[in-house]
Symmetry: C2
Subunit: 456 residues, 2 copies
């Protein structure tokens, strides 16, 4: 057992009110990186962080890239001999669509039943906010930090970070760090803090199918020419077998099944399929036969259709025979899989199953390697102790089915292990309508970070 | 051989110029019945016809319905003893979307290389225009028509004529006729006029699939819960067998294969798959094994996917696991099939193949019975003779894969056979971008109608 840290700094009521106001202000900025019309808002969000860091006592600047700007904040007064911690996060958010499924508007944050609802509340603006405020409090209270701290917040995580890595590679010395700390994930449960042990990789594609040169009348041509929508559906239906496995040749090549000990550890975590179904809002589970839900999510690769569009989709009936059809298809990968290899397997598969006379195209939209943690060292142990102190229970090591491709890349370029300590909760609706962050985790998250620095 | 009618009235150059201007004016009105924002334009289009009829010497009025208004024109001076011909057509058009695929704007008619391009140029505004002008010329030249003529032009054909039939049934005596003449189809080829012998019926549905309550993050949930897009694709892929047949139990029950004579007659028509492929803009044909292209189009039922929508379909990558998915699915029917029976077979099929935990819904959007012609009688013979006179070759009897459900219903309620004499050409892009009508068929169509009345 680690110290329970009765002396941990508490947030005062007036700080609590101010923090809420500041967080709301930050969440109100619609920093959607995927849409060019929000370019100005992206800059506003970045500038907001720069000012917040400067007010806290950091040197901070907004660095232009060929895309959205990066925020770089630095506090190096711990001296050249002290270790350096790099905090990574992102201020951009997923598009909020479909807007009509939000209970309240995505960029008008509101608290209902202990949850702060807004796009970005959990992923990741709400979580980087915790770091900004913890650093501010430490510098105000003590005037110093136990380590040098570099804050690197990008604006392109949701569009696969096209400009972060070139910057990191070019600024390797300035960014040199002993560990990378990231809060962009969820705890295992409300009463069970966790540290992330693994993330899946991703390979995301747009599949385009073309039949006729242009749309045709479905009566005058129906039954005699290829229909792009029908052919797309047929291709998509070949992606999974009846056993729930991805039915692409070579997809599982090299994928190692976890050993009995590791499987047992996952199976022993307090997890109920019924609660998970309730949280996900589904009436049945579905996946690869022979694996538990947590194994499917944390340890197995998968294929999901993220979108389909073809032909007439408006009100009423239009008798069109579609010439074009499109699907967004993505794969989640485990450590033995490489995005580039999956891309070529997917391409081969699509070409193999496409009907004669059908033109198919596979566009690479996004790829990222899977990640597995180095679960050791002073930073990892400080995180573990801080979580236990504030939440009153030892954190568990968990996997996450999602992908933060930059984690692997930051570790590789900086040669520093990443510690992933998330404060959102399961069912936070990241990337979906009604995204939320637990109101109480503003204080608990900041308290955990204060304790974390106290342990360094 | 019928008389070649050397005396047929020709259109003068000044009439030709005026007709083109009037047709353009008519085509400029965006009379899209499916979209409520065009309600006012629908009225304008109806009023345009009423005025045109009145100027020609008809009594005409715009009749309100609970939907878009009907045009009713009457000329009854041939007397109670003379037969009555009812001309049916529609002034509404299909939605013009996708607009970006039009070479010139859909409601700005323009003539390029002998083709008049505009939404409705062929279906059906360009064709009812021929009737209006033929009647105008006859009344101006001769002051009389050989038969009583009732003109009935509706504004809801493209949305399945919800208010036409109730009106026809309530006005059975006023509309009493000996034959119904309709120009809403294409000739067999540019050098081969035709009279329609059959039309397929239609049953059109929206299939809705629901998995989770709301969209989920495809990383955090992918591989463990049902994906609505995946499940929809899987259902759609079950609709056809590898033999190209519709794979719904009972779908072909009672469907009679045409006899050898009828099949031979179709096979002997001058038709080249290569030309059809070129016209349709496809690089392969696809359909039910064991049938020629014309048989597939004219004599066999089919199933087409008219549209699909699910999840994220915008620019770039969004890692969403869609909770909802929708497809528009329609069937073309042959005389032994009933839309209502097909609806229940489709519903049963979808329920049978849907995965556990997936909610499916089938909405009935549109249904219409198939039709087969009574290829005889004075009106049919007059049409046959007029086409031969103007085009210089005997018309062939053809089928059409499309549906004009109201044909069967008008025949039934009025007890009068329908004669379907179309002047568009194959590949007219009805219901698709770049719809067109052959410029020369304005004169030829009007000349054919003048000859037709001359033969009554």
């Amino acid at each position: 057992m680690r110290p329970t840290g009765a002396g941990a700094r508490r947030i005062t009521p007036s700080e609590s009110v101010r923090f809420r106001e500041e967080l709301y202000e930050f969440l109100r900025i619609p920093s959607v990186s995927a849409r060019s019309e929000f370019r100005h808002e992206m800059r506003r969000a970045g500038a907001w962080i720069v000012e917040t860091l400067q007010r806290a006592g950091f040197g901070a600047e907004l660095l232009d890239t060929a895309g959205h700007p990066l925020v770089l904040g630095e506090w190096r007064k711990a001296g050249a001999g002290a270790p350096t911690l790099l905090i990574y996060g992102h201020y951009d958010v997923q598009p909020a669509e479909p807007l009509e499924l939000w209970t309240s508007p995505p960029f008008e944050p509101v608290t209902r039943e202990g949850r702060i609802y807004a796009r970005g509340a959990a992923d990741d603006k709400g979580q980087i906010f915790l770091h900004l405020k913890a650093l501010e409090l430490l510098l105000r209270d003590q005037g110093y930090l136990p380590v040098n701290v570099v804050v690197l917040i990008e604006g392109e995580e949701e569009i696969s970070s096209p400009h972060l890595l070139p910057f990191v590679e070019a600024s390797r010395e300035r960014l040199a760090a002993d560990a990378v700390l990231i809060s962009d994930s969820a705890m295992f449960a409300a009463d069970r803090p966790s540290l992330l042990y693994s993330l899946r990789g991703i390979a995301y594609f747009e599949l385009r199918v073309r039949g006729a040169r242009g749309d045709l009348h479905s009566g005058s041509y129906g039954g005699a020419v290829p229909n792009a929508a029908t052919e797309l559906a047929r291709i998509l239906a070949t992606l999974h077998g009846t056993d729930g496995r991805v039915a692409i040749r070579g997809f599982y090549d090299g994928v190692v099944q976890h050993d009995a000990t590791s499987r047992r550890a996952i199976q022993e975590l307090p997890f109920l399929d019924e609660e998970f179904m309730d949280e996900a809002g589904v009436r049945a589970l579905k996946g690869e036969l022979g694996f538990s839900t947590l194994e499917r999510l944390w340890t197995r690769p998968t294929c999901e259709i993220n979108g389909i569009l073809s032909g007439y989709t408006g009100e009423g009936a239009k008798t069109v025979l579609p010439s074009h059809a499109m699907a967004k298809v993505s794969f989640r990968l485990v450590p033995e899989q490489e995005p580039a290899q999956i891309a070529s397997l997917f391409r081969e598969h699509v070409k193999r199953v496409a009907a004669p006379g059908i033109e198919v195209d596979v566009l690479d939209l996004h790829g990222g390697r899977p990640w597995r943690a180095h679960a050791e060292g002073r930073f990892f142990e400080a995180a573990r102790g801080a979580l236990e102190e504030v939440f009153g229970v030892e954190p568990v090591l968990t996997g996450d089915g999602a992908s933060i491709p930059i984690v692997t890349e930051l570790e590789r370029v900086l040669g520093a292990p990443a510690v992933l300590m998330g404060f959102a909760l399961p069912g936070a609706n990241m990337h979906a309508p009604d995204e939320w962050f637990p109101e109480s985790h503003i204080e608990k998250g900041i308290a955990t970070l204060l304790s974390f620095y106290g342990r360094l």
